[in-house]
């Protein structure tokens, strides 16, 4: 960790400092024929720094981050697995990154073949053969799938169906995507085993049901045991079932959503398929759908024709959801990952992810409250015990203390169905030693919390900054340098 403050680029800027230069520029020539009102008086006020200072600035900033390459990230629902470095090398091949999206198809056969085969492999892994690689992230995939659902409903003359059922443990993106696609959200309760309550679901089904969005395994890390029945009920009511595939890592190669009744789902290539999170993207959120829904997928898709691979528009496509052909270089990494693993390796991913999560669960469940303490999938949810809460310790304090101990905190305060939730997902790529050390840290923090120790309120004390006043950032907004 680099602890000292790093001045802003603008604070380190000195007039006349140069770095990147382009020879041959002549402003007078470049602007001679342009009317004055189109032109700016002087160049934009970007910072002026030399190359070495720039390198130090960003290198030091990088050293103020936790990252998978330096720290364990047991971040529930985010699948922070190792991002294989070979994929970075592969994506850095100029034969990939120098392609222009409007080159003729016959000059980009390698790229189109990769997209075609990746789509086919994802279709096989999910049991849902219609695949689009367009969506830029999971939420974008959700929105795309809901638009596909709208198109299908319209074709069926069923556009009065406006309600989407969503379990109360769902990610926030699910209801937000529904709103964007013009659907109304109906919340379905969880039962006392943490699963989607079939009886509550059945009560909400009717002529106005467009579908169900279910996360399986759920955000509680539990497989929806009644999923086959749930899908049947929704289908009987005339709706479709969408699966949020954020947790696909747990079941890849073990079971296929298409086989248990799912009609559409998204995958997060930046979770399950190992592409780096990059501090918040770029991701990629392909959606996989049944044969029946394939013709509604976004434009373009890659098809294999007589003269090789080509881009084409599906028959009743919803249209474009973004520019060009998807986050291509993310697709390259995911493709490389799948090829490296193969069928066998992919199954091992799920097995080890689930084993790692259960191992932590059994080792800490005597020290933490684990509301659904049975065999879990790739993650489980814990929360502070009554004793800790009475000692004035909240989940936020636990999270910050874990930062101090060298761990990125688990996902906290989510899912909403468990108060003060701490959601732990170790992924398959962590070693037993790392898990053991983390377990020890969790037990240590549990003891400190039960004793109400003040260090938990003070944590973290060894980071570049201590706890941040988030309210002040809203009350006194400073969002960019010039407007301060």
């Amino acid at each position: 960790m680099y602890l000292s403050p790093v001045p802003l680029l603008f604070e380190d800027s000195r007039p006349g400092r140069r770095n990147w230069q382009t020879p041959g520029a002549d402003r007078a020539v470049a602007t001679a024929d342009l009317p004055a009102h189109m032109l700016r008086e002087k160049a934009p006020a970007l910072p002026e720094l030399g190359e070495l200072d720039l390198i130090r600035h960003f290198t030091r900033l990088s050293q103020k981050n936790y990252a998978i390459s330096t720290n364990f990230y047991p971040l529930g629902s985010c699948t922070m697995k190792y991002n294989p470095v070979v994929n970075e090398r592969i994506a850095a091949d100029p034969q990939w990154y120098n392609l222009h999206p409007y080159q003729d198809d016959d000059t980009v056969q390698g790229a189109l073949e990769l997209m075609h085969n990746l789509a086919a492999d994802l279709g096989e892994a999910t049991g849902l053969p219609g695949v689009t690689l367009h969506p830029a992230a999971g939420a974008h995939g959700e929105l795309t799938a809901l638009m596909v659902l709208r198109a299908w409903l319209d074709d069926q003359g069923q556009n009065q169906r406006r309600k989407i059922l969503i379990p109360d443990s769902a990610h926030g993106t699910n209801p937000a995507s529904c709103a964007l696609a013009g659907f109304d959200v109906v919340t379905v309760k969880s039962n006392d085993r943490g699963l989607c309550a079939v009886s509550d679901l059945a009560e909400h089904l009717g002529d106005d049901t467009a579908g169900l969005m279910i996360t399986n395994p759920s955000t509680l890390g539990l497989f929806e045991e009644d999923v086959v029945k749930i899908c049947d009920l929704v289908h009987q009511a005339g709706g479709k079932v969408y699966m949020d595939g954020a947790n696909f890592n747990a079941i890849m190669g073990i079971t296929r959503p298409g086989d248990f009744g799912i009609d559409m789902m998204h995958l997060n290539l930046h979770k399950t398929f190992s592409t780096p999170h990059g501090g918040g993207g770029p991701g990629s959120g392909p959606i996989c759908v049944t044969e029946e829904l394939t013709k509604y997928l976004p434009t373009p898709s890659v098809v294999q024709g007589e003269n090789g691979f080509e881009l084409s528009a599906p028959e009743s496509s919803i249209g474009r959801v973004r520019g060009f052909h998807g986050n291509f270089l993310v697709l390259v990494r995911a493709y490389a990952y799948m090829k490296r693993l193969g069928a066998e390796g992919i199954k091992r991913v799920a097995e080890n992810a689930v084993l790692n999560a259960n191992y932590i669960r059994v080792k800490v469940s005597d020290h933490w409250r684990v509301p659904f303490d049975r065999i879990c999938m790739h993650e489980f949810v814990a929360r502070p015990t009554k004793e800790m809460r009475e000692a004035g310790i909240h989940t936020i304090d636990i999270a910050k203390r874990l930062i101090e101990l060298g761990y990125h905190p688990p996902t906290v305060y989510f899912p909403l169905v468990v108060a003060e939730a701490i959601m732990i997902e170790p992924t398959e790529t962590e070693s037993k030693e790392t898990l053991d050390a983390f377990i020890e840290a969790l037990i240590q923090v549990a003891k400190e919390a039960a004793a109400g120790e003040d260090i938990l309120h003070q944590a973290p004390r060894n980071m570049p900054v201590s706890r941040v006043d988030e309210a002040k950032a809203v009350k006194d907004p400073q969002l960019c340098f010039r407007c301060q």
Partner: protein
């Protein structure tokens, strides 16, 4: 197995700790009838070396645009400093998560704040967000933000906006109660007259437009203001090296694609979208925002802010569903803008335009005229020849000489037979222009050539 560190012995020990006999016992909550009995029908795994060879074989099926390239249409062959590749590939940036925990994410947070600041400066706006997926989806989000802010339902979109941007806006809007109106093109620029009224939420224009022509964004801003609609410009950010920022001309929301700011063409993605607006709209903005605050000791600290707009807090009432954006590519843009500085950006803009001016002169000698000679262009120019057959022949002749270029407009516009665009950047060399004009002469005036 690749990337899995635990050994069989570790697994046995862990299974015992969990209290089960086998891995299969961990999956009994999955109904037996839907568990896979056989392995997936995928190829067998490859060693790292085999993988590298396989990928090289696959990528050699491409003909890269690294050589002479005049293709534009939203993705441009600009150069970038090595510092960009070097710094953004640092694994502390690459493998970090979204900075929800500010104490261990100050690096990403400060870089995003700096990104927001520089984007706001280029756009001429007060604030900018942490990035969007790309330019097209950013434009669609701008339309929705304008509808939400004005509580109106009509969106007027310039027909000279990038066709894929227009299509994306259309896809986003068609499922909600909206009226999308397309403003026609008159002599290569948009004619909004008679279309903007008191029902209008957004007036949307691209600067420069899809034909490379510079639009009168100041007039668009004014027309929108008169009816209290919001004006939206989709901006090619490099152009702000010499052109006035749309925000300074009164445009309310400035969006665009950041590919030209240090991002490889990459077959069109990932790049990043940007989204800039005025401070008063902050609560309507989509996407993440980073702000400055203090820590408990009074030190400057960066943090995600105004999160109550976002899906993880507001769910169906959020301003957008966007969660993961394109942060790492925005970081590329951030480093690139900082490496260029004011002079660097101006130079890139100037040289790109100088080459385009030279291109117009040289092609004129080959008898190729601009389609819209009355309009001003930046670095991309729309030309017109007799018909699409000639366009196709020109393109074919260029390709035969290893030159990429010629975007036929009739792919998107029915009435533009014989029209095509070519784009220049600072990477366009004088000899590339000579090659272009030689091939043009051979194509169009073979008797002279």
């Amino acid at each position: 197995m690749p990337y899995i560190q635990n050994s069989d012995a570790d697994r046995s020990e862990m299974l015992a700790a969990v209290g089960v006999k086998s891995i299969a016992d961990l999956f009994t909550s999955i109904p037996e009838e839907v568990r896979l009995n056989e392995s997936l029908n995928l190829s067998a795994g490859l060693s790292e070396d085999q993988l590298m060879r396989h990928m090289q074989e696959l990528s050699s099926g491409n003909q890269s645009s690294a050589g002479v390239n005049f293709l534009g249409g939203g993705i441009y062959d600009h150069s970038w400093p090595t510092t960009v590749d070097h710094l953004m590939s640092r694994s502390e940036f690459l493998t970090a998560y979204t900075p929800y925990q500010p104490e261990c994410s100050q690096g990403t947070l400060q870089a995003i704040y700096e990104f927001q600041s520089m984007i706001a400066e280029l756009c001429g706006c007060e604030i900018a967000n942490a990035s969007m997926y790309d330019g097209a989806s950013a434009a669609a989000e701008a339309a929705m933000m304008a509808m939400s802010q004005t509580r109106r339902k009509k969106v007027v979109v310039s027909a000279a906006m990038h066709p894929e941007t227009r299509e994306t806006i259309h896809t986003y809007l068609k499922h909600i109660d909206t009226e999308m109106v397309e403003a026609p093109i008159v002599d290569g620029v948009t004619d909004f007259s008679g279309l903007i009224d008191d029902k209008t939420a957004a007036v949307m224009v691209q600067q420069p437009n899809f034909f490379g022509n510079i639009e009168d964004t100041a007039a668009v801003a004014e027309a929108a203001k008169e009816v209290k609609a919001l004006s939206v410009a989709s901006l090619y950010p490099v152009a702000t090296g010499i052109l006035e920022s749309p925000g300074k001309q009164g445009i309310d929301i400035v969006v665009g694609d950041g590919q030209s700011l240090g991002v490889p063409m990459a077959f069109g993605g990932p790049s990043f979208g940007f989204f800039a607006a005025q401070q008063k709209s902050v609560r309507k903005l989509p996407g993440r925002l980073v702000g400055i605050s203090n820590d408990t000791e009074g030190r400057r600290a960066f943090t995600l802010t105004f999160q109550t707009r976002e899906q993880h807090i507001r769910r169906e009432k959020a301003t957008s569903n966007i969660c993961t954006n394109n942060a790492l590519i925005a970081l590329r843009g951030c480093i690139h803008m900082a490496a260029l500085g004011p002079q660097g950006l101006e130079e890139v803009a100037c040289v790109s335009r100088q080459r385009a001016l030279e291109m117009v002169e040289l092609l004129d000698l080959a008898g190729i005229r601009r389609a819209f000679p009355k309009q001003h262009f930046f670095n991309e120019v729309c030309f017109q020849v007799d018909n699409d057959e000639m366009v196709a022949l020109f393109k074919q002749n260029l390709r035969a000489q290893g030159v990429q270029g010629v975007l036929a407009m009739s792919a998107w516009y029915d009435d533009m037979d014989g029209c095509f665009t070519l784009a220049c950047t600072e990477r366009t060399m004088p000899e590339d222009l000579i090659a272009l004009s030689t091939i043009a002469k051979q194509t169009f005036i073979p008797e002279v050539a």
